[in-house]
């Protein structure tokens, strides 16, 4: 469950960063973001971040869950900031992490 929360938070931050021209350029080598994509990334990013709150709260309850979630936000945003500059393609691919993490949580 913690892993799923981490993956969702990462995907959320990734989407938010792709709605920013500087990071869109790092990943896709194009500075201009298509309008629809920008909106999708922006709102999808916030939605994913909100969603990432659910697994830790489900696993630990509200008190501890919020503490874990805050930690997960840090732990997902930091590698993203480094990957965007050193390995942008890896940063993009890791955005799919919620799928395997979700399957793992279902098992």
């Amino acid at each position: 469950m913690t892993l799923l929360g981490l993956a969702l938070a990462y995907a959320g931050f990734l989407a938010l960063s792709l709605a920013m021209e500087r990071h869109h350029e790092q990943v896709f080598a194009v500075r201009r973001i298509p309008v629809l994509r920008a909106r999708l990334c922006f709102w999808g990013g916030w939605a994913l971040l909100a969603l990432s709150l659910l697994p830790p709260v489900a696993a630990f309850g509200w008190g501890l869950g919020l503490v874990v979630w805050t930690g997960l936000l840090t732990a997902s945003a930091m590698p993203l900031a480094l990957l965007l500059c050193y390995a942008p393609r890896v940063a993009l691919c890791l955005g799919a992490a919620p799928l395997p993490a979700g399957l793992l949580a279902l098992l």
Binding site: T2, S17, M20, V67, V68, T70, G71, A75
Partner: protein
Amino acid sequence: MKEGFRQSMAWLHTWTGLLVGWVLFAVFLTGTAAYLRPEISHWMRPELAAVSPGPHNAEVAMAAMQRLAPNAPSWFITLPEARENALRVFWRDPSSSGRGFRNATLHPDSGEPVAARDTRGGEFFFRFHFELHYLSVFWGRWIIIVCTMFMLMAIISGVITHRRIFADFFTFRPAKGQRSWLDGHNVAAVLALPYHLMITYSGLVIFMAMAMPWGMERAYPNPRQGFNAELSGNPPPRPRANAAAPLAPIGPMLAEAARRWDGGAPGRITVSNPGDAAATVQLVRAGHERVSTSAQSVTFDGVTGAVIAQSATPGPAAQMHGVVYGLHLARFAGPALRALFLLAGLAGTVMVATGCILWAVKQRQQALKSGRIGFGTHLVEHLNVAAIAGLPLAMAGFFWANRLLPLDLPQRAAWEIHAFFAVWALCLLHPLFRRGRRAWVEQFAAGAVAFALLPVLNFLVTDAHLLASAMAGDWLRVGFDLGLLVCGGLLGAIAMKVARHAPSAARRPAHSTRTAEAAP
């Protein structure tokens, strides 16, 4: 401040940060290490085997205390838990002068004092991070309180100063001199901001009775007892009856406490007036089961075993205090959450380090424009090396001393700590002889080698090395040895990065070559 709000905040941020930066770096790094206090203590006592705690530990402890200190006015027993493999007891010795506290570490199954080397273990880093060393507790804590206040100011003024907090949220641009240091400082600060605020503020709350006692002194005529009793929910002590009476068995008390806590287990036992007719036994619920440190306790009559008090649900303020305190200590954190705390703690360490370096880089750039590098810049650069690169090396020195000092050396635990400071002092002298980047590279490289060789040293001088621990299933020790290798690897990577910086800097325009002089 004539320039406007943001500029004056930038000024405040720079100077509050720089003045106490080196202390804060040490506090962050040793405090982060203190998240692994039990693990460090376990590793530093290679004689101890892993034991699993059980309900019999309390009975063992009570029996041991009957032998060790039958006449003491009070016993304090800390029971082992999954991460702690020894019974820790302390008591007041009526025959000794002063406050007269004595303590011992006992085997949780036999109750015999453990035959392990004399060491402070992880306790040293924990203590150092809030009261330093070689100073009285009073002054040490006051220094830390003042530095923590500065830290809080630096955080708040830093957020105000940071013009593009959202636009630069994920931005790190490497190999761009001053720009990169600022980016690194921002990323480490902003992405772990909730942690930094929490740890700084909670650190102040822990020392609130020292830092801001006035409200408490007004509301409570006798703050020491009234305030603390209300905060901890402890009943007032019973006077001694001066009539001998044996203690009731602890087993039924444990069962009663577990019933009242929905199966929760006690972590501490406090016995007042053991052997007297007025004896009381207080069971305090284990700290790692809940976030809050506000103690849940049940107090029993020591002779009849009847319940005489149970801690009430604390009021909102006391509950808040307990949660804030608990968040700082993070005893409740399981392995995954502890890893997150470690990561955030390291982010704080990096934040302070990059802040100090950034100041030196900026200063050197300005100094080069005016053609003269001042004493202040040299001093900051020098202290940066000794604090940032020197401390990890000193920590490695502490571990080396733990393995190398003769086992029968008097005051052995103190000598381990002397070794730590001796290594650190050498790191402070070293940049006098090796200027600039060379000092950085050499200290980081020495730290890398010292950490990486610790598992090897362990193999040579103890029976608790990597292979033996794996065979014995002591995964804690295995993990610690591997962790030491990771630390060595990290420091080595930093050393390489600093060393390689020279040729790439030479290729770039002149201004970044100059900044490269000031920092790695």
